[in-house]
Symmetry: C2
């Protein structure tokens, strides 16, 4: 090996992630990518393969970051109910703050690519399943601590929270009245007893 790479591979991948996240797969061109990543076109192909490979790498990076972020937010407090409430509220707050709402990269990919590419169907499904496992663990902790009722159907509730999270994330992209989503989140969270 002789000449060393001038750009930071992880930083470039981060930039690609942000762009795919915002614009989706089809609407993002290689020129868009190289401009955002600050690298030359042949460097992109040499480093990441092709457009689809780069997208997959970006999505994998996202799901890892996203899962650990969710996990962290759910650990960060003593009350499980409050933890879930904070999780939803922070997401809502975040989405109303930014001018263009990117939503969730994984959800965007479910909608755009999962039905047409089994690779992404599997990748995105496994992420959602993983989220429901994190939710289950959190709920179990709440039962053990005595905060939640012991006869709670933890699995069903965790899966419902995933469905609700997806629903809210998508709906937020159409910028509904704040009260709309607030009310439904409150009602959903009332299932955590």
């Amino acid at each position: 090996m002789v000449r060393q790479r001038e750009f930071d591979k992880e930083k470039a991948l981060d930039d690609a992630m942000e762009l795919f996240w915002e614009k989706g797969y089809a609407a993002t061109s290689i020129s868009d990518l190289t401009a955002t990543m600050g690298i030359q076109r042949p460097s992109l192909y040499a480093t990441f393969g092709d457009k689809e490979k780069l997208f997959e790498a970006a999505l994998r990076k996202y799901t890892n970051l996203h899962a650990s972020l969710i996990r962290k937010k759910l650990q960060n407090t003593t009350s499980v109910k409050e933890a879930f409430r904070n999780l939803f509220e922070e997401m809502i707050e975040e989405e109303y703050k930014n001018k263009v709402s990117k939503g969730c990269f994984c959800i965007n990919t479910i909608v755009e690519l999962a039905p047409h590419d089994e690779k992404f169907e599997i990748l995105t499904r496994e992420h959602e399943m993983y989220l429901s496992v994190i939710f289950q663990e959190t709920l179990l902790k709440g039962i053990k601590s005595g905060e939640l009722e012991s006869n709670l159907d933890v699995k069903a509730l965790a899966q419902t929270l995933v469905v609700a999270l997806i629903g809210v994330t998508v709906l937020l992209k159409s910028h509904p009245e704040r009260s709309f989503v607030d009310k439904s989140v409150t009602l959903i969270l009332s299932l955590i007893k």
Copy 2:
């Protein structure tokens, strides 16, 4: 007027709707459209304007059909609870039946276009709001008939059902285990008391 159009405009629009619904806006090319619609390229532009206009017309047609379909399904029974259960279950059944799951054209558009085009943000938002109104009316009927508790927060519940419908529709595109979505739908529907 002299020579008459050889193709059926509504039929062509239907075909365009199906294609945009399945593939999204960016991934659908004019050539795809003319092939599916069975018309020539200049006929498409003469009749529908351009790609975006055609997409908008297709989406408007979809939202109208979708709203009346939902309305019809919710009217079709005596029990409101059962009506909602049927609504969700039929959608799930439908999605597992087809090889490629198209989901909901409106939801697909929220994810792909709403954040980047205010026209579609408004159009899709209004459709979701309209669905929640249909849900509200249905719930109110249930209260009047004595089936549902009179102290039910109809608005919040209707909005929650919209969120859940969106969540389930999106999640189905990743083909999760059937029990996953069944369980969460059951739990969501338990909110209708």
